[in-house]
């Protein structure tokens, strides 16, 4: 395909494909999906605990952990051992991260920061709160710039 080479597809042998193709083939019942290494109860428990312990954001095993979890659990839960536990663990980690993000967004706005570094955030998290945050910041900016006194406009006498 345009974006790279695929295959070779040999029966019984695992092959790496883009997620969109994997889901499509699974839906057509042409394959079994192999979950990524980090999609394992012990590993995810470790991550969840670290996330709860630390104030900073834990580096996640995949920049697409949320999307992969949702897709794989939706379409291929039969290929994932302990799927329910995995679902809960990822959700708990997500909730903790989003709560931290909300707090830090709040403090960003309050302290009128001009810049923030967000290395360990995944795109899903950024885009979940991002639009709200940027629009709120824009509003704040508009309100602040309007604090400048208006240029001599004469008021009307009634």
């Amino acid at each position: 395909v345009l974006q790279g080479d695929l295959g070779p597809f040999n029966p019984g042998l695992p092959v790496e494909v883009p997620v969109w193709l994997a889901i499509s083939l699974k839906q057509r019942q042409k394959c079994r999906l192999v979950p990524p290494e980090w999609m394992d109860v012990a590993k995810l428990e470790e991550i969840r605990d670290q996330e709860r312990r630390e104030e900073t954001f834990t580096p996640m095993p995949s920049p697409y952990y949320m999307e992969l979890t949702k897709l794989l659990l939706n379409y291929a839960s039969d290929n994932i051992p302990k799927a329910d536990e995995i679902r809960t663990l990822v959700k708990d980690t997500w909730d903790t991260r989003v709560a931290k993000l909300r707090l830090s967004a709040d403090s960003f706005i309050r302290q009128q920061e001009a810049h923030a570094k967000l290395d360990n955030l995944t795109l899903m998290e950024i885009n979940t709160t991002g639009t709200f945050l940027t629009q709120a910041l824009d509003q704040m900016y508009k309100l602040r710039s309007n604090l400048q006194p208006a240029q001599g406009a004469q008021s009307q006498d009634f």
């Binding site: 974006q3 790279g4 960003f108 940027t134």
Partner: protein, 213 residues
């Protein structure tokens, strides 16, 4: 950086699609209309047409055919989304977009493709006619002019954007938000992600040093 004469960029198809995705995301998240990328669009359309032609000739029902078809659909989606995003901005900021294009210096890249330019001009003419017929011609004679350039809001270049650094940058100036703060500089490490005002980093988006996310 750019030299005289033709700049022939030879990209692999994978790199081409990657460029399209980058242009798409930048356009989506940037508050203003960005440079038009006719080379990318032309090449992508060419590749898609080429693929479609191949598929027409291929055996039906082959797995390969459906995989290629899916990929084509995905790329078409990105391309459409990118072009539509640009049209939305053109309609939103039309007087400013046209003004910028008219006052562009010789060597500077264009922000409108020829088709987009024609569209913008027509949109402006239609809007002017509409306003005149619906309201302006019924106003007292001294109020019949409206300056679209003054009344249509400009893009807010001070909006905050999220970005990922592709090429390391040093000493980017961060302007203070309040009078009590002072300006400071930051270095942008490759692979790091930031939240910052668009205005400061606009040239970095244009040069491809950062990617909006």
């Amino acid at each position: 950086d750019s030299d005289e004469g033709s700049e022939e960029l030879v990209l692999t198809p994978a790199q081409l699609i990657r460029s399209l995705e980058q242009a798409w995301l930048n356009e989506k998240f940037a508050p203003e209309l960005l440079e038009s990328k006719p080379e990318i669009i032309e090449c992508v359309v060419e590749q898609l047409d080429h693929m479609e032609a191949n598929l027409k000739r291929a055996k039906k029902g082959d797995l390969k055919v459906s995989v290629h078809r899916m990929e084509i659909e995905r790329i078409r989606y990105v391309l459409s989304s990118y072009l539509r995003c640009r049209l939305v901005k053109i309609e939103k900021f039309f007087p400013h977009v046209l003004e910028k294009e008219k006052s562009r210096a010789e060597g500077e890249p264009s922000i409108l493709s020829p088709e987009e330019f024609a569209f913008a001009k027509e949109y402006m003419a239609n809007t002017e006619t509409y306003l005149k017929n619906v309201a302006l011609k019924h106003m007292p004679p001294n109020l019949q002019k409206v300056s679209l350039l003054k009344s249509v809001p400009k893009p807010n270049l001070d909006s905050f954007v999220f970005l990922r650094v592709l090429e390391r940058q040093e000493n980017i100036l961060v302007e203070p938000e309040t009078d009590e703060q002072r300006e400071y500089t930051i270095d942008l490490e490759e692979g790091s992600q930031h939240l910052i005002r668009y205005k400061t980093i606009a040239p970095l988006v244009a040069s491809g040093a950062v990617q909006l996310i």
